[in-house]
Symmetry: C2
Subunit: 314 residues, 2 copies
């Protein structure tokens, strides 16, 4: 096993890490995504340049690198190496990112959904160690999920599995951007949480950080807001637990910062409402790796590609 | 590949089939389960005897049979070969069925949940041919499901995956026997359907067969009942489709007899409320094999066991 370059491609920042064979990030770099909103080509050039810099700084050449793994926030075709659509980065539609980077760097490159890579990272190096099946939920503006089943990343037929945020939790729930209604994200996505917080706390400028701080000071309205949020998430996960009978649920993403307020009602809802065997077997934990999950996940992906695991669709 | 004995072990009947290597059932037998409610031992003896009779009738001996596969309606431990619990057959708790039959018949025996075997059967020989991932839903007194993902039966960590009937579809829904609330089964399980039908149609003795017949005669209340049922099922499946991104949903079980009345609102609900890519990829079909699905599924299970597929947990 050689070194791997892991890239967490976000709408705000692109974070790179050089990962050694033991799964340690030994060098990092960062690109401000927004500075390149005007040009895809310049952004890709800048990414290739940063990768070269990281390699040079560690005195590594292409033959020392087994691959580059990139997690992106959107619709990805990992088999064809094409970024289909990034909702938060203007102009990114049908970009053959793998082909462009491989030509430029001459290193095998692989792309996937960022939540899938985060799930792989948490599974092997973080909160999911030892679990053979888990759901890694990311709570933020969007609510997503990465799924490991029987020791393998599950991507779905069109590589879009894991949309935990679009589980309907009420038949007559509010309409969702996705075209459905009553989706979990409509109750606990950042926008909905903020709206609710601003109404409950009668402060139209409050941020989620402040709602979190208020809960830490035992503000009853803020505490109730997090509790309500946890119960919604729990109700959606009851269906997942009953259908997939996983060993573990990992809670990550920005909103997971409030995990200490979410934890009790979340676990209670899942444990009390799920079926007996499922409920007994499943544990709920907070994600451990933060932003590094995706970078480390890239290493797992490369390892699996070289050993032939997880390659069904790729 | 040799012959396989497939057994569909139901609370009312036990159906046996001798399956040839091409997946054809060439001889059948049946046992009335209720006649043996008083004694587990007698029921198992009778099953072994029927298996012997089927083999003798075809002039086959143990060496011609690659295995016996049995699907049972309850909590099964396929790895240990133990029937943990059958809710509808008195006294069946922790029965080491595999050990007993293997001693008696000297043929490798395998047990699994009946819905899992039905899913395997439909996948290879029925409505699911060619699909790499599917959910096979069974509608009846209970609402269950078998899951094929990436070309493999998915059982879950405790072999209890697939509980489609216990997906909550409303946060404030009615309490369910499983301990949860708002579960799909509370809306569309036979008992709930009958209750609703008797109220709507103001006939306290009506059967579901009669509700089906009334719908065939365009009775508007009966039609509305099936439509409402289809929408509930669809709403639960939207979550499954968004999370698992399968190629196919197969609808089977007793209630699927009303499929022609369920079909349109069911497909509409799934297509309109699921996310774009998921919705475009998923097809919905009626199960094709009826009672034979489980018997044929046993053959697939045996084939996979001999070739080393699906054996992770067994």
């Amino acid at each position: 096993m050689k070194y791997v370059i892991g890239v967490d491609f976000g709408g705000t920042n692109i974070k790179l890490g050089l990962v050694n064979p033991k799964g340690k990030i030994i060098r990092r770099a960062r690109i401000d995504t927004r500075s390149y909103f005007s040009s895809k080509a310049k952004l890709i050039n800048s990414l290739a340049q940063k990768i070269r810099e990281v390699m040079i700084a560690q005195e590594l050449c292409a033959t020392n690198i087994s691959g580059i793994g990139i997690g992106l926030p959107g619709l990805i075709d990992p088999r064809k190496g094409i970024v289909r659509f990034l909702p938060n980065v203007p102009g990114w539609r049908n970009v053959p990112l793998v082909k462009i980077l491989e030509r430029s760097l001459n290193i095998a490159t692989f792309i996937d959904n960022d939540v899938n890579l985060a799930a792989l990272g948490e599974w092997q190096y973080g909160a999911g160690k030892g679990a053979d099946s888990l759901i890694c939920v990311t709570l933020g503006t969007g609510v997503g999920g990465g799924i490991i089943l029987d020791g393998k990343l599950y991507r779905g037929e069109g590589y879009v599995a894991g949309e935990i945020g679009h589980i309907p939790i009420n038949e007559k729930g509010p309409a969702c951007n996705c075209g459905g209604s009553g989706c979990l994200e409509r109750y606990v996505g950042n926008q909905s949480l903020l709206k609710k917080a601003r109404r409950c706390l009668q402060n139209k400028d409050i941020t989620l950080e402040e709602v979190y701080a208020l809960a830490n000071q035992s503000n009853s309205k803020a505490l109730a807001l997090w509790e309500e949020t946890a119960v919604h998430i729990g109700n959606a996960l009851v269906g997942v637990v009953n259908v997939l009978n996983p060993r573990l649920i990992i809670i990550g993403g920005g909103v997971a910062k409030a995990y200490k307020h979410l934890k009790k009602p979340l676990i209670q809802t899942i444990k009390n409402r799920s079926m007996q065997v499922q409920s007994r077997m499943v544990a709920v934990r907070r994600a451990r790796l933060g932003d590094d999950a995706g970078i480390l996940g890239a290493q797992i992906l490369m390892k699996d590609l070289t050993t032939g695991a997880h390659t069904k669709h790729v």
